[in-house]
């Protein structure tokens, strides 16, 4: 049984002091139901997640107590992807006809302060100041720039593009372009990455209605099919966040594994994708993830970025809604934001940030601690 996305909803990302995270989730859920032309009581099951804004299943208090199985998902940055895979499998199995996935969050300002104990790492690791995701991303791109001759200017250009795209997206947090000069000269956070090269924790909510593909046209004229949804954790030897040590022999990370599995599941290849949303916790991540997901060879990013290929009108548009850089990262909602954006793109409803040429296939990728990755491939 194939699976279709027939309704989508989003609560604008950024800061909304007047609404709790849960209320932002309910807002997105109501919009998704409205988009599919159904009521909450029509939903047979739900998967949802939130890292800092309470239990996702508390949404039933807002939406109505209908007795459905609502399963909470907690998988760090891959929470949205994991919810989607769970819903995908629930429908594919034939057990359910229609359900909802949702993710929302509301984080405090500033970098996340992760607890080493939760990840099975000694407390000393945090005490000496190494329990920082920002350091990992900085060290990974530092090594990558050294090995593959990526320039600092390309880091700046990725950030500049994110804010250009964010300015075109009414649901983005940061909606003003920032000049290359300002990005390059902003406060250094973790060398070589400056303040405007990192995303920030934020708030927001996303929800979508999924159903069996043969029922899709009951709910929408523009169904989008979920051709693949995969999630992988790290294998021994991959270089990952929160690792007090790593093996001398390096292997491909979970992004490469999840990407290969998704292309195999969908029966298509990287060259077939018309638009892609790639995890951009910071600018280096976007650059490295272009190659890790198979869209170019390692090192080719330099020429592609300098030529503007990753812009909305370019040959391989990346993070057309402004990505995490312009939207911030509410953990529970972030992966679903990417899928929301791709549904808009495939429906031709992305407005100012619409990719030209009627895109038919779209790709999403998330990466997070402690070394997990989730990928989806959508087709209209």
């Amino acid at each position: 049984m194939d699976v279709a996305i027939v309704g989508i909803g989003i609560h604008p990302f950024g800061r909304t002091p007047s609404r709790t995270g849960l209320q932002q989730g309910a807002y997105a859920a109501r919009l998704a139901l409205q988009d599919a032309g159904i009521e909450w009581r029509d939903i047979q099951f739900a998967f949802g997640g939130s890292a800092s804004a309470g239990s996702a299943d508390a949404l039933v208090n807002e939406l109505g107590l209908t007795g459905i199985p609502f399963i909470n998902v907690a998988n760090g940055c891959a929470t949205g992807g994991s919810s989607l895979i769970s819903a995908f499998n629930a429908i594919k199995s034939g057990e359910y006809d229609i359900g909802m996935v949702t993710g929302f969050d509301k984080h405090d300002r500033g970098a996340f302060n992760a607890d080493p104990k939760e990840l099975g790492i000694g407390e000393w690791y945090g005490e000496v100041g190494m329990m920082m995701t920002t350091q990992f991303f900085a060290m990974k791109i530092q090594k990558y720039m050294h090995d593959y001759a990526i320039s600092t200017d390309s880091l700046v250009k990725v950030s500049e593009k994110a804010f250009i795209n964010g300015a075109k997206n009414p649901n983005a947090w940061r909606r003003e372009p920032i000049s290359a000069e300002e990005i390059a000269n902003s406060t250094m956070v973790n060398n070589p990455l400056t303040k405007f090269m990192f995303c920030s924790p934020a708030e927001g909510g996303v929800a979508m209605v999924l159903c069996r593909a043969d029922h899709a046209t009951r709910y929408t004229d523009t169904p989008v099919y979920l051709k693949a949804a995969t999630m992988k954790s790290r294998r021994f030897g991959s270089f990952e966040v929160f690792a007090p040590s790593q093996a001398l022999v390096q292997v491909d990370g979970p992004t490469v594994d999840a990407s290969k599995a998704a292309f195999e599941m969908a029966g298509v290849g990287p060259r077939d994708m018309h638009v892609m949303q790639l995890q951009d916790t910071e600018v280096g991540a976007e650059i490295m993830h272009m190659a890790e997901n198979g869209f170019c060879e390692h090192g080719e990013q330099e020429a592609l970025i300098q030529a503007g290929a990753t812009h909305i009108g370019g040959s391989m548009p990346v993070n057309t809604d402004g990505g995490c850089l312009a939207n911030g990262e509410p953990i529970g909602a972030s992966g679903l934001r990417q899928v929301y954006e791709n549904v808009l793109q495939l429906r031709g409803q992305a407005g100012e940030h619409q990719v030209p040429g009627n895109p038919k296939l779209a790709y999403t990728h998330v990466y997070g601690a402690p070394g997990i990755s989730a990928v989806t491939i959508l087709q209209r």
């Binding site: 500033g110 970098a111 302060n113 607890d115 080493p116 000694g122 407390e123 000393w124 945090g126 005490e127 000496v128 100041g129 190494m130 329990m131 920082m132 350091q135 900085a138 060290m139 990974k140 530092q142 090594k143 050294h146 406060t187 250094m188 956070v189 973790n190 060398n191 070589p192 021994f236 030897g237 690792a243 007090p244 040590s245 790593q246 093996a247 001398l248």
Partner: protein, 141 residues
């Protein structure tokens, strides 16, 4: 009376005339882990032996932490006295790549591939006066 205590038990030999980082090495597949673990992440084997890692290696990658982290960061610093610090992975031949703080925080003085050595120095002082010792990597001149 104040004394010197290691930041964690089993991380390195302490006290010792020549302290060293401690790893576990899997007797089945030969892979080393730091910190020492009861099982092997490579092959799931549970037969491991503790060994001292080499004291010298090369810098694999690095960054400078420019802002003071929130908890669980625990030093004696305040927002006013915080000094940016280097963090890097040092490849210890035959062992593993170990992540550690660097004694150097000047980006101009750090480059991938440079020789580094492990040193054990006071990191913070506890309320009872105990000096907490941690490991750092220092450029070899």
């Amino acid at each position: 009376m104040s004394k010197q205590v290691p930041i964690a038990e089993g991380l390195f030999t302490w006290p010792a005339a020549r302290p060293a980082l401690l790893a576990s090495r899997c007797k089945h597949c030969g892979v080393a882990s730091f910190p020492a673990a009861e099982s092997c992440m490579a092959c799931s084997g549970q037969d491991v032996a503790i060994e001292e890692l080499p004291g010298r290696g090369t810098l694999w990658t690095w960054t400078i932490q420019q802002f003071m982290p929130k908890t669980p960061y625990k030093s004696n610093e305040t927002a006013q006295t915080f000094r940016p610090y280097g963090v890097g992975y040092v490849e210890l031949p035959g062992g593993v790549r170990v992540e550690g703080r660097l004694t150097e925080n000047d980006p101009q003085k750090l480059h991938i591939g440079m020789p580094m050595e492990v040193v054990f120095e006071p990191y913070r002082t506890e309320d009872n006066g105990d000096e907490v010792i941690s490991f750092f990597f220092k450029p070899v001149n």
